[in-house]
């Protein structure tokens, strides 16, 4: 007993708040409270306050939200009729209650397109969060994946399509993993806070892209000198479209990659030793270390796997419907940041992330400029800022979980939450 780690004396009660109280550990307590009601309340409250913002600027919130709803394409589900639909990848035609080619169907394809990407960027945040790391670098990891996918997708013309696509996607995922791994290694070895390092890596990825695809850059499209952009992805490397017009951004096979990633996330987190260790570190790194788990190794792995998800997001966006990345795309993309709101609203679980991605996918697509009727806003770009504000409110209300739980219970009582006072 003279050397070795300190052992608690039987009489002395262990200090309740010993060890760093990580964000994930605190969030886990909240997970156990409130059920599914709290996130739904959070979203509703955010939309309500967002509506007040619209009202404050003199527009009619009901009209705005109706415009957004129509833009999401969800009305497709309740427009039931008698239609015929060709089964994918065959010539057979069968009866189908919904119209596969209406305007609403096109909108819905767009919504699901964005949802696929958001599932992956959301998982990138959620996986790191389960390990107690706040990965704000989804945007940078998405870019790195996108750059690699574009580079491979626009070269090697004439390669077997399946090989080409697989190669591009795997390389993009690995690039995302390596890029996120930088932040993981820095956290594991010197303890650099991942929030700052990932933000810096985001900006480095942005400027690297502006260099690569910008004016005079090594990967710039030489035929379009004056609006700098990358070379287009060759036909063979494009993901197959299974619903809608391939030339009008129909729904591509990336959706299945995203759904597969959701399953993979659930399996890794809930059914593997790795997932157990990641969660243990997320709850309490000191306890995990004491239990023989390598905290450093899990920090690195959690970031690397998060990077795989974000890199995949970049790959399916580029190979699925964007097909090139331009100077202005790099400057204006926020898809990685929305992943933060997706993960937090989805409570960092697979099912939750899937549903939250659908909500935000619908919000982003519904507020896209072309979907808002011109009479709702004087300037249509406003809708995008409204969507940004709603995302912020969701984050804020998630942060302020106590407020939500209080509103829900109305009595101010804690609902079985372990948010006890420090003593």
């Amino acid at each position: 007993m003279t050397s070795g780690p300190t052992v608690h004396q039987p009489g002395a009660a262990p200090e309740p708040d010993a060890g760093p109280d990580t964000a994930a550990a605190r969030l886990a307590r909240w997970h156990r409270a409130g059920g599914v009601v709290a996130p739904v309340m959070t979203a509703l409250l955010a939309f309500l306050v967002g509506g007040l913002v619209v009202l404050a600027t003199g527009s009619n919130p009901i009209e705005v939200y109706r415009g957004i709803w129509n833009g999401t394409g969800f009305e497709w589900f309740y427009r039931v009729g008698s239609h015929e639909v060709g089964l994918p990848f065959s010539d057979a035609r069968v009866w189908f209650p919904w119209d596969p080619a209406s305007r609403a169907a096109e909108n819905l394809q767009q919504t699901l397109l964005i949802t696929s990407t958001l599932i992956l960027t959301g998982l990138a945040v959620a996986f790191a969060f389960r390990c107690g790391l706040f990965n704000i670098g989804g945007q940078g990891q998405y870019f790195v994946g996108a750059y690699v996918a574009i580079w491979i997708g626009s070269s090697f013309e004439g390669t077997n399509s399946f090989v080409h696509i697989t190669f591009a996607i795997v390389a993009a995922a690995l690039a995302g993993a390596a890029y996120a791994g930088i932040a993981g290694i820095l956290k594991a070895t010197v303890g650099a806070h991942e929030v700052i390092t990932t933000i810096m890596l985001n900006w480095i990825a942005i400027y690297a892209g502006l260099y690569l695809f910008g004016q005079g850059g090594p990967l710039q499209n030489k035929e379009q000198v004056f609006s700098p952009t990358s070379n287009p992805v060759v036909e063979g490397a494009k993901l197959p479209v299974f619903w809608g017009d391939p030339f009008l951004q129909g729904l591509h096979a990336g959706l299945f990659i995203a759904l597969g990633a959701l399953v993979a996330f659930w399996v890794i987190i809930s059914r593997t030793t790795l997932g157990y260790e990641v969660r243990a570190v997320g709850f309490n790194p000191d306890a995990a270390r004491y239990g023989g788990i390598s905290v450093a190794r899990n920090y690195f792995l959690a970031m690397a796997i998060a990077g795989v998800f974000a890199g995949l997001a970049g790959a399916i966006d580029m190979l699925g419907w964007r097909f090139s990345i331009g100077f202005s795309d790099i400057q204006s993309s926020t898809i990685g940041f929305i992943g933060i709101a997706v993960a937090l609203l989805g409570r960092n679980t697979a099912l939750g992330v899937g549903l939250a991605a659908l909500v935000f996918g619908a919000l982003v697509n519904g507020t896209a400029t072309r979907n808002i009727p011109p009479d709702v806003f004087d300037i249509p770009e406003q809708a995008g800022n409204l969507s940004l504000t709603i995302q912020a409110l969701v984050l804020l209300f998630i942060g302020a979980d106590i407020l939500i739980l209080w509103l829900w219970s109305k009595s101010g009582q804690r609902i079985g939450v372990g948010r006890r006072s420090p003593v």
Binding site: T57, I136, M200, L388, T389, L396, A400
Partner: protein, 407 residues
Amino acid sequence: MSVGAATIEREGLSRLVSARAFGWLGVTLGVLAFWLVLPPVTARSPVVPLVMGGLGVLAGAWALREGAGRRLGGGAIAIAAIGILLGLLATRSSVEALDSVFVWSALIAATLRAATPLTFAALGGIFSERSGVVNIGLEGMLLMGAFFGFLGADKLGTWWAGALCGIVAGGSLALVHAFVSIHLRADQIVSGTAVNFLALGITGYFFIEVYTDQGTPGDVDFTPTVSIPWIEDLGFVGPAIGNMNLLIWVAILFVVLAHVVLFHTSVGLRLRSVGEHPKAADTVGISVYAVRYAAVVVSGALAGLGGVYLSNGITHSFNENLSAGRGFIALAAVIFGRWRPFGAFAACLLFGFTEALALRLPSAYGEDQAWTTLFRALPYVVTLIVVAGVVGRSIPPAAVGRPYTKQ
């Protein structure tokens, strides 16, 4: 016995001192590796940076071996390596281009310009973190200050009315962060991130609402420049600091003020005690919540003023997401500066220098040179290296990031 112990201690001490001296020697040699190839010396042989930097790496490695600590030894090696790289790059570019980039007086002026928004935000970060609240939201507060500072100056007609608007806007956003993270005891990082998004949404919304897609006007009352008689005509000092913007002087003044307030007044003592041990502070009758609210709001107001200078003093316009990660760089400066105003100011000058350097490159080498874009990432790369190098060795306030529950 006691004599022997003292001897050993003294020997250990002198050995540590020489190790530290070697560490600093490595840092100096690394800086020289780059500096010697620049004007006015302008050594043209690649041997110069190679030898200087090589010696710097050796000195750093020796310091590391002798126990100077990872921060100093590793830092010296990193700086020497970067010195070699930049030095080699510089020997390969033309003397005319180097002369036009490294006009030191202009570079100093540009460094101070770029460092000022960072300095304001970093001072805000120090106040907030010293009171125990992590302020990731500095970025958003900077952005709020930038937009509303510009809007105020445009609509109210004077720059100081605009500055007031910017300060209030930054402070209001900070109040949201304070309420959520102090009263509602939310996770301060999540709350700060939310506040950043909120600022992006709000400024973006009103920017388009007010200025449509025409962009901001150019005939606004911008923050004034202070011309110091005598000094502005001096040879080297004149172009460097003779004609600086008023807010740069304010920033320097605030650095001194912040130091005095934090370390030489009872207000500062209370602030720091709340950040180190809130329960003890509570016991002796200091209101933890009140101090934290005040500190966070002050931090937002300071960041807001930094934003005012950014839009109204540097760019003379506003664009969506104008702050471009500067709030986070300021946060890194707080850590690098060990939560002290002068230290943070020095870190801001370093980051400001890299930004100034990156901005001067295109005019010297031509706008069509793609690689100058790559250098725009330099401030972020340096921040990354700095954060990786110092964290773990610089000790944050003990209670930072922990919500406090009143008994």
